[in-house]
């Protein structure tokens, strides 16, 4: 027996350790979420992509409390998509160790962190990469490796982050919908010679007053948002004289994501005054010679018991601005968001959020309707409808490359109006 050669005290320690681990494992807990989703598009895609897309996903959450001050959390995620192979993907949303120290918290491993207050865009939120194939609104995120040291005293919080290991944004594939006329390549390029190995740093201070919540943040490292660059094989273009006029048959170039090194300063604030929530997010971003500012500011007003019953109505207005204007990488560079929220406050927790983002200058609108209703104790039904209004039709790949239309950023999605139903089962 190997144990017999151990000294009694060490054997005792080993037995204690095994016992502690066994009793800790006894306390571990699994939670699961299974979801089935169908997206129905109003018409086939520009490249003949199908109108109906079905997929299924699983997200597990394993939690192991080791003692009062330490715990482990692992949250794996898997999606299988019947149409788009790039949407079928696996991610570790979370795999982290939480240590609660005396006056501090140390959170190490892969985690998710959200910063921000507004509904229209999430400008300040920069720690995690967007899992864009999951959701168009940017609210699904990939797990980010980090060491996060957090302090909190009275009404102030400080968070310091070391972020080793960059995650590339996910993009839909050739057979997928909600994409540019050209597919985004999986071979990303980086400004930094360290590429994905570049270590990023971030810090945030938050003040939690009775009515004012104010956050100031800084980030230095690889931008989460890539520039999409066309890298053309000139020998595979069609020419009239010396003038390129199209792509040769069978040649479909891809867009290459290019990730810059940036420094971003962020401000987010919410002022809560009765039924009024005043919200502001603003950023200033510098990368090389490029520098731009953006903000999203507005309010949400809630009418409690609007119909003399339990229902609440909410009214949202936000203005979205990006100093790059037409050169902005987002379609919301000088847009208004108008939203209307209904909470029935019924046992099924029925909720509906209708919103429209309006670009009055170029006559583009994004209409969204998001709703959810509980069907049973462990079953939830979600509805998501989006419609894209642009005065221009989607472009063919060559037109997209040769005459980029920075005024009508929604035109690539103009044929992609969709209704998505998701059934979630929790166990």
């Amino acid at each position: 027996m190997p144990l017999t050669i151990l000294l009694p005290s060490r054997r005792h320690a080993l037995v204690c350790l095994l016992f502690a681990l066994a009793s800790a494992l006894h306390a571990n807990e699994w939670r699961h979420e299974l979801s089935l989703e169908h997206s129905q598009f109003a018409q086939p895609g520009v490249d003949g992509q199908r109108s109906g897309h079905t997929s299924a996903a699983w997200q597990g959450e394993w939690w192991l409390p080791l003692d009062d001050a330490n715990s482990l959390t692992v949250t794996p995620f898997v999606r299988a998509d019947a149409q788009d192979s790039r949407r079928s993907h696996v991610d570790l949303r979370e795999a982290s160790w939480l240590h609660i120290g005396d006056g501090f918290e140390l959170r190490s491993g892969i985690r998710q962190v959200f910063w921000g207050v507004t509904e229209g865009t999430h400008l300040v939120d920069i720690i995690n990469q967007t899992d864009l194939v999951e959701r168009l609104d940017g609210e699904a995120k990939l797990g980010q490796p980090m060491i996060n040291l957090a302090f909190e005293r009275d009404s102030q919080q400080w968070d310091f982050f070391v972020l080793p290991g960059f995650r590339e944004r996910t993009f839909t594939g050739e057979d997928g919908r909600l994409r540019t006329p050209l597919v985004v390549s999986k071979d990303a390029r980086y400004e930094s010679s360290q590429g994905q190995q570049h270590v990023d740093f971030a810090a945030r201070w938050q003040f939690n007053g009775e009515q004012l919540r104010l956050g100031l943040s800084g980030f230095h490292g690889t931008s989460r948002e890539p520039e999409l660059r066309a890298e053309l094989d000139l020998s595979r273009l069609r020419y009239q004289g010396l003038q390129p006029v199209g792509l040769q048959a069978g040649y479909t170039p891809e867009l290459t994501p290019y990730y810059r090194q940036i420094t971003q300063w962020g401000l987010d604030a919410q002022y809560t005054a009765g039924d009024w929530l005043w919200k502001l997010e603003a950023i200033s971003q510098h990368g090389g010679e490029n520098c731009h500012q953006a903000f999203d500011a507005g309010f949400e007003y809630t009418q409690v018991g609007a119909l003399e019953g339990p229902e609440d109505f909410g009214w949202l207005i936000e203005y979205l601005h990006d100093s790059r204007d037409q050169r902005a990488t987002t379609p919301f560079e000088h847009d208004w968001l108008l939203g209307w929220r209904l909470s029935l406050n019924d046992p099924a927790s029925t909720q509906l959020l209708a919103s429209v983002i309006v670009d009055a200058e170029h006559n583009e609108q994004l209409l969204s309707l998001e709703g959810q209703r509980r069907l049973s104790d462990s079953l939830l039904l979600e509805l998501e409808l989006r419609a894209f209004f642009s005065p221009k039709a989607p472009q063919e790949p060559w037109a997209f490359l040769s005459q980029p239309d920075s005024q009508h950023k929604l035109r690539s999605l103009a044929d992609d109006d969709y209704l998505r139903l998701t059934l979630r089962y929790f166990l």
């Binding site: 809560t272 406050n345 927790s349």
Partner: protein, 210 residues
């Protein structure tokens, strides 16, 4: 918590609550276990004797903390017949009191006290409290809506004394006499002096609630 609609259909919810009394009021952290789609959601509230209460909701799916407007107090708590203002500490400073009288409730001698909420956002014009003579426990509350009509009747049962000082009910019952709906809150596993501190009710505590 059991919600019962006017046809007798039931739906149940489970939650865990931690409370801390401190000089400027009371802090509470609620974590929801069922329905399962809201499992892991947490509600942190600071209630004050004077001024607006503060509330933050943690949504685990997107790791987001949202501060909620303070004036939703007259709104229903989790679709129940309890409003937010019914479940927070009723500090004496929040009411104006009318006369006191004596009456019996199910054979129990009680003081009957009328009070009106000072907050104009309250859903009530007045409340009538039935407080027993022996232990001064609130046995019943009648809630009158803004028009002065009887809206709801609250009763508390199964009081036991913990640590030889704290009386707590095992069940609370709220019956809405206008729409016929009811909510039963059944409490178990009360524990006192658990060594909780401000750190268990902070923003970081809300982020790690589960």
């Amino acid at each position: 918590m059991t919600l019962i609609d006017s046809q007798g259909q039931q739906a149940s919810r489970q939650l865990r609550v931690q409370n801390l009394e401190y000089p400027e009021g009371e802090k509470s952290l609620m974590v929801f276990d069922t329905p399962r789609d809201v499992r892991g959601s947490a509600l942190l509230s600071y209630t004050h004797p004077v001024g607006d209460d503060e509330q933050w909701l943690f949504l685990p799916a997107i790791k987001r903390v949202k501060q909620i407007g303070a004036r939703n107090k007259s709104g229903p708590f989790m679709a129940s017949e309890f409003a937010f203002e019914d479940i927070v500490t009723p500090f004496w400073q929040k009411f104006t009191y009318a006369g006191i009288s004596q009456n019996e409730l199910n054979g129990l001698a009680c003081h009957v006290l009328e009070r009106s909420p000072n907050d104009k956002n309250s859903g009530y014009s007045k409340q009538r409290l039935w407080i027993d003579h022996e232990h001064l426990l609130v046995r019943q509350i009648e809630y009158f809506d803004r028009r002065g009509e009887l809206l709801k009747v609250y009763t508390a049962d199964g009081f036991t004394q913990h640590n030889q000082q704290h009386w707590r009910p095992a069940s609370m019952h709220m019956r809405n006499v206008q729409n016929g709906r009811q909510t039963k809150l059944e409490w178990r596993d009360y524990r006192f002096a658990q060594g909780l501190s401000d750190r268990d009710f902070s923003q970081n505590a809300l982020l790690r609630a589960r």
